[in-house]
């Protein structure tokens, strides 16, 4: 009886927290639910009042229509090329920079770290015009370089990875050094594999940002052949020849988030390790 009361009391204690978290979860989940349901609705159901939450018939025709009205495949391939190259490059560069900042002693290390920290507090919009100017001067407008190079330097990734690498014991690096490994081999064979949880976070974070970026590609790309999936989807607005694009846009948007979702699911366990542990375990 006493223990039952104790259990009840404990549940009562956490109930408000669970309620608050549920509200937040619903608020986050709702747009995805709306997008998914809308992608199966007919144009009439999309406009009907009161709102139709779940379509009476799941209409699949919006999905092939995406490919019919816009160059969706091309957009997907462009996004894949830009995102995969940028994520690969950013991960490699950030992890090396982070390793150097975490484990090497060199003149200017503190200043370099401070610059990274300060740059974290500068909003991306502030640097948009100078960055555009730079890309323009390099002659990269309307090229993949304009879409890839600016993503390669990520202060957030460097800082996050550095904080994680600090937790890797120095003795592992020293042991490798005595074992005869050169500095690159120490990084690649010892440190890099131990960074997996932090790398998962960085890879997902960069993938998510680059894949979903709309503004930067809009600024630097005019040629429709180079459009990323987000720019391609932006063409699906309003009506054309009496066809409402809302349902088609929702279908396209749903397909466009699938790669991000897949990456998240693949790296989920490592990311959880990062947030839970924040350190190296054997």
């Amino acid at each position: 009886m006493v223990s039952a009361l104790k259990v009840k009391k404990r549940y009562l204690h956490v109930l408000p927290l669970y309620l608050a978290l549920s509200v937040v979860a619903i608020a986050f989940f709702f747009p995805f639910f709306w997008m998914l349901m809308s992608s199966f609705k007919s144009p009439a159901e999309l406009l009907r009042l009161p709102i139709v939450w779940i379509p009476s018939h799941f209409l699949l025709s919006n999905y092939p229509a995406v490919f019919k009205y816009v160059p969706f495949t091309r957009g997907l391939l462009n996004s894949a090329l830009v995102t995969l190259t940028s994520v690969f490059g950013a991960t490699l560069i950030s992890s090396m920079a982070a390793y150097a900042l975490a484990k090497y002693r060199f003149a200017g290390r503190g200043a370099f770290l401070n610059v990274i920290l300060i740059s974290l507090s500068v909003p991306g919009f502030v640097t948009l015009i100078p960055l555009y100017d730079l890309v323009y001067r390099f002659g990269w407008i309307n090229s993949y370089l304009a879409l890839i190079i600016p993503y390669l330097g990520s202060a957030y990734s460097i800082f996050l990875l550095r904080q994680y690498i600090i937790t890797i014991p120095d003795s592992l690096i020293e042991a490798a050094r005595l074992d005869g490994a050169n500095e690159f081999r120490i990084f690649w064979r010892v440190v890099f594999p131990l960074m997996r949880p932090a790398l998962a976070v960085v890879i997902f974070w960069n993938f998510f940002n680059i894949w979903n970026d709309f503004l930067w590609p809009l600024l630097v790309i005019n040629d429709p052949k180079l459009y990323t999936v987000q720019l391609v989807l932006s063409q699906l607005q309003g009506y054309e020849s009496g066809v409402s694009f809302v349902g088609i846009l929702m279908a396209g948007s749903f397909m466009a988030i699938l790669p991000t979702l897949t990456i998240y699911l693949l790296g989920q366990s490592q990311m959880k390790r990062f947030y839970n542990l924040g350190g190296v375990k054997g």
């Binding site: 014991p169 003795s171 592992l172 020293e174 042991a175 490798a176 050094r177 005595l178 074992d179 005869g180 490994a181 050169n182 081999r185 064979r189 010892v190 594999p193 131990l194 190296v280 375990k281 054997g282």
Partner: protein, 362 residues
Amino acid sequence: MAKVELRGVSKVFGSVEAVKSVDLAIEDGSFFVILGPSGSGKTTILRIIAGLESPTSGKVIIGDKDVTDVPPKDRDVAMVFQNYALYPHMTVFQNLAFPLESRGIKKGEVRRRVEEVASLLRIEHLLNKKPSQLSGGGGKAQRVALGRAIIRRPKVFLMDEPLSNLDAKLRVYMRSELRKLQRTLRATFVYVTHDQVEAMSMADKVAVMFKGEIHQVGSPAQIYSDPQDTEVASFIGTPPMNLIRSKVIRVDKGEADIQVLGRQVKVKVRQNSHVRDGEEVIVGIRPEDLQISKDGALSGVVEGIEPLGRENILHVRLNESTLNESTLQVISTSTESIGEEIRLNFSCEKLILFDSKTNKRI
């Protein structure tokens, strides 16, 4: 295999002088132990030999080569770390193979040598396990760490308290295993520990360190029976040497008459000692050199007993007054009880004199 020499090696970290002008000669093929309390600088010396720290001044010589500015990978030394530093994401096989692969040795040869070392250390059954799966006793992680050190047959092995994480029983077993291994390999081992039992039981030679300085280098027997200062005398031995302040009555022909422990005794002094009549000295005597005897000149009361099984350590409060310490530690094999009055005897030859100002042997 190679000898190791340190010539005037110092290391300063900020405002702390961790190692103070150390000279050390470690013979080829010997088991050399650097012994000292925490913070004495012994690990810093090991790291300087390894090349993981560069000395602020002085030279490190391995074999006949000055390696002071040579990077660790080119010194041909291997180190076993206190926490073993096994690569957690690699299997035992990969851990053992890593030093060979790093030096570009071919796969077939790597496999052959890994199997050879695994067989020597009896860890063949662990080759596919990860370090996190090596729990369950038997010093498995230590063996793997040792294996990774010996696999590339370095000139010198450096060991930083590798047994400190083991339980007492396993530590005793691993001590003899390590000694056996050193004899099999006929390699130069430099072993750092704060555990005097480990040092005394394994070493060919011991260097005792305090506060960045080497106080004495010698065989375990020399260090124990012939300590060069009071710090070594009180650090080595369990229980430690009794140190009693006393006064010299007269010095004559290499002998000093001193009044100590209820008797006037003659103690030999070194030829170069400058001890004078009336000077204060410190007299050292090992607890086992004090015998309980009915006709002993010294009387005291047993204040505490530490039973060790075969013998007891008695804490005896003296009835006679001394200049400092009035409690002595005595080893006893008989059955005394707390509060019992006992008499003690000792032989003058067992007494050792130290200068009361410098704490050095006189």
